[in-house]
Amino acid sequence: MTTETLTPTAREAVASACADVRDGSETDAVDGVTPGLVARPADTAQVAEVMKATAAHGLSVVPRGRGTKLSWGTPPSSADVLLDLSGLDEVLDHAAGDLITVARTGTLVADLQQTVAEGGQRLALDETVPGSSIGGTLAADTSGPRRVAVGTARDLLIGLTIVRADGVVAKSGGRVVKNVAGYDLGKLLIGSFGTLGVMTEAVFRLHPLPETRRWVTARVADATGVHDAVQAVVHSQAVPAAVEVEWPTFGEGLVHVLLEGREDGVAGRSTTIEAVLARGALDVSSREEPPAGGATYPWDTDARGDERATAFKLTFALSGLGDVLTAARESGLHVRGSGGVGVAYAALPAGAGVEAAQAALTRVRETCGRHGGAAVVVDAPAEVKAGLDAWGPIPALDLMRRVKDQFDPDHRLAPGRFVGGI
């Protein structure tokens, strides 16, 4: 989509801000919206130049990491410039003794993991969509099984550099884990879908790589059984690193529990968990390999266009797990997620129509809401998404709009991608 805003002068301004600028094509489309230009800056300074140029010409800008989640959220109302951050792909520091790392946000999560693993450490964040960048992971706030033990990006990000809509570069936090000086801008930017600023450098706290790991899996007959198994595990003292639930559209469910740590400890705790799960399960087994599906979502994240599943994120208080699973099954959803913290992902198969999606969303949204959580649409074919209220009711939306107005008064950053049309 080229817009009237993208005049020859405006194009020239963007081109002079960044050496790597080209016309956008359909393959660059952001949830169906083709950008006018694609700018691929090499560092924070160039991102700032691009943002200043776009600000001067009133151009809309949609940031992109590696493009693995461009169809998530809601489509942008305008995308004059796609800001491709894949050129910011460097791990700048790994201070192993301080358990921190600093990386540019276009860096692949996998590359960062490889770098820090050489020092016996890891960023305790799962790569839930293969090929994701650090920035995309932060912007979409993705998380996987390991959130049970150490949380999500929200708990691991300790410093952030952003470029504001007006091109000003700002940082918050720093390189130490314990730091309460100033506002924690990182928290605001995580999960903001590129609507508040462009993240260019991130500092994370790391954890030591565990000596060993073991997955204990229970096969469970029904939703109540899954619920009870998860409750038994989380109230045990076996310190699980993950408590995953696999709940297909029909048949039995699976509860996978990950134990990480030292050899003897993991062996002992596995035995404990096996005993805990055996009480209500059809059978229990354990092994070193992760379960099928690993840390990924219960839908094909490579699918494009109408081949995509309709995907939801469900959150709920732990006591609501059984109800949520029942509602999901009755809506034809396949669920996989961190039952041990109250976050699950659910999919309607590709080809499901708008009405089915609406019915499923209404049902799970009501159920999750009753249990203190929410249901949002992560991804869906265009026609289905257009028929859904993707984000649902958002408390404090007025305050969120005010934050957006302060950071991006002209609403040029990823316009329309986020809650309430932000």
Partner: protein, 498 residues
């Protein structure tokens, strides 16, 4: 402001009189303090060298009453400051002379302990330790534990993001707060987050935690409860030098062990603690480490063996494993009473709170010793060695001329050291009034301007705890960017620029 005469003889501004009128009948009379003498009870928080008498103190009993106060303040443009137990150490709850001090100490209900959800819902005046006491019968506890946890309130913890010894392994207050009822600077109550994680929309709660009351007031908080570990081992380890203790700390972390806590005290801090609580720390120790390991029994045993060896290899001359809860409590009492204990060996002291990367510990401790020697100002060190959060206690006698200034100078130099090592000017006590002038040393104008965008979104009138955190608040209508002239607030004589 012009002033009018109240019947009591106290001069108050018409705005304060209007707020007082607005809350009468809503807040019980006992919760409205206008008497000058009684107002002075609230003139400082835990940082007593800043004192300001508030124009009005209001002590609401519930969230609705509190919101009424804020609405009245908003309607009349009156600044307000929230205060919990008043234990803050950075002047974050220092009152505003022409404003209202909103005290949450009567809002201390633990509304719910939801074991099945691993959550507790509490009011802001609830004492930190009381959450753990309420959760323990259910097999749970609340992990963030500031040293003042017997008296500090959850509301204050949330405002300051104040953590404590167990943050190393379990994370900080911000990692344990899942939801809150939040009263905006207009007096509207909005829910942020909730029982479930990952609320859709911007993470406003993440911005509010640690914002030191400058964005609004939290009236109910949903916190994460952590399962009590199968086993806890607390070890007291004596070293001749802080270098040895520091090296042992690094060796433990390098071995991939994340203890629940690693705390260090130097000789002077040990002396103070002994004088105060007779904690029986090893004789002649130049440094002690308090190391706590927790988790599943088998792993705790293995880690203990390794920690014991690493400490020995790094020069420890005594190791004492607490054999029962009473011994554990005594070890911790020495550590947690250290701040107050320093009063036994010095008439006055400044509690500093800075953070450095842990690997810089030896160098920074040497430099602090040099600073102390050069200035003749004694510095006792008590700190969270695991995460590099230093608490140098700078000792002085205010009766001696120039002593306070010398102590202040050393205290400031220590913060500069933290900044030099790319650390932080505060790890848990907050910026408050005390350290706002240091913020520009850690962040540049653009960083600070960007933080102010958040404040302007939440509090366009700048009435929520104004004058804290930021040295020169930006007016919310101002276009961000470099200023060419003096700040309007500075020109008007209403603020200082540093």
């Amino acid at each position: 402001m012009t002033t009018t005469q109240e019947p009591t003889g106290v001069e108050v501004s018409p705005e304060i009189a209007a707020v007082t009128d607005a809350v009468r009948g809503v807040i019980p009379a006992a919760g409205i303090i206008t008497d000058r003498t009684r107002l002075r009870t609230y003139e400082c928080d835990g940082l007593a060298h800043y004192r300001v008498t508030p124009a009005l103190v209001v002590i609401p009993e519930d969230a609705a009453q509190l919101a009424t106060v804020i609405r009245a303040c908003a309607a009349h443009g009156v600044p307000y400051v929230a205060r919990g137990s008043g234990t803050g150490l950075s002047g974050g709850a220092l009152p505003h002379a022409e404003g209202v001090l909103v005290v949450t100490s009567r809002m201390r209900a633990i509304t719910e302990i939801r074991r099945a959800d691993q959550r507790a819902v509490v009011e802001p005046g609830v004492i930190n330790l009381d959450v753990t006491k309420a959760a323990t019968p259910e097999g749970y506890y609340y992990a963030p534990d500031p040293s003042s946890q017997q008296i500090c309130s959850i509301g204050g913890n949330v405002a300051e993001n104040s953590g404590g010894a167990h943050c190393l392994k379990y994370g900080f207050t911000t990692n344990h707060v899942l939801g809150a009822d939040f009263v905006t600077a207009e007096g509207d109550t909005v829910p942020l987050g909730g029982l479930a994680p990952d609320s859709p929309g911007y993470d406003l709660l993440g911005a509010v935690v640690g914002s030191e009351g400058t964005l609004g007031i939290v009236t109910s908080t949903t916190v994460r409860l952590v399962r009590l570990p199968e086993e806890v081992r607390t070890i007291l380890v004596g070293f001749e030098t802080t270098d040895q203790a520091g090296a042992a700390t690094s060796a433990i972390i390098a071995a991939g062990i994340v203890p629940a806590a690693i705390e260090m005290m130097d000789a002077l801090a040990i002396e103070a603690a002994e004088a105060a609580v007779q904690c029986n720390y090893p004789d002649g120790a130049g440094a002690v480490l308090v190391i706590e390991l927790d988790g599943a029994s088998v792993e705790v045993e293995q880690e203990y063996v390794e920690v014991e060896r690493l400490c020995r290899e790094n020069g420890s001359f005594e190791q004492r494993l607490a054999v029962d809860p009473a011994e554990r409590a005594l070890i911790w009492r020495g550590r947690k009473s250290a701040f107050a204990a320093v009063g036994r060996i010095s008439p006055d002291y400044i509690v500093q709170d800075g953070v450095i990367p842990r690997t810089a510990l030896p160098e920074v401790l040497h430099r602090i010793a040099e600073l102390s020697e050069e200035s003749g100002v004694r510095v006792a060190n008590v700190f969270h060695a695991g995460d590099g959060n230093l608490h140098p206690l700078v000792l002085f006698d205010d009766a001696k001329e120039g002593a306070a200034e010398a102590a202040e100078k050393v205290s400031g130099a220590i913060l500069d050291l933290c900044i030099e090592h790319r650390g932080s000017i505060t790890g848990e006590h907050g910026v408050g009034m005390d350290k706002s002038k240091y913020m520009p040393r850690m962040y540049n104008d653009e960083d600070l301007d960007t933080m102010q965008l958040v404040r302007c979104a939440f509090d366009p009138q700048s009435i929520s705890n104004p004058g804290k955190v930021f040295p020169t608040p930006r007016l919310c209508g101002e276009v961000p960017g470099k200023r060419k002239e003096a700040h309007p607030l500075v020109q008007a004589g209403l603020a200082d620029a540093f």
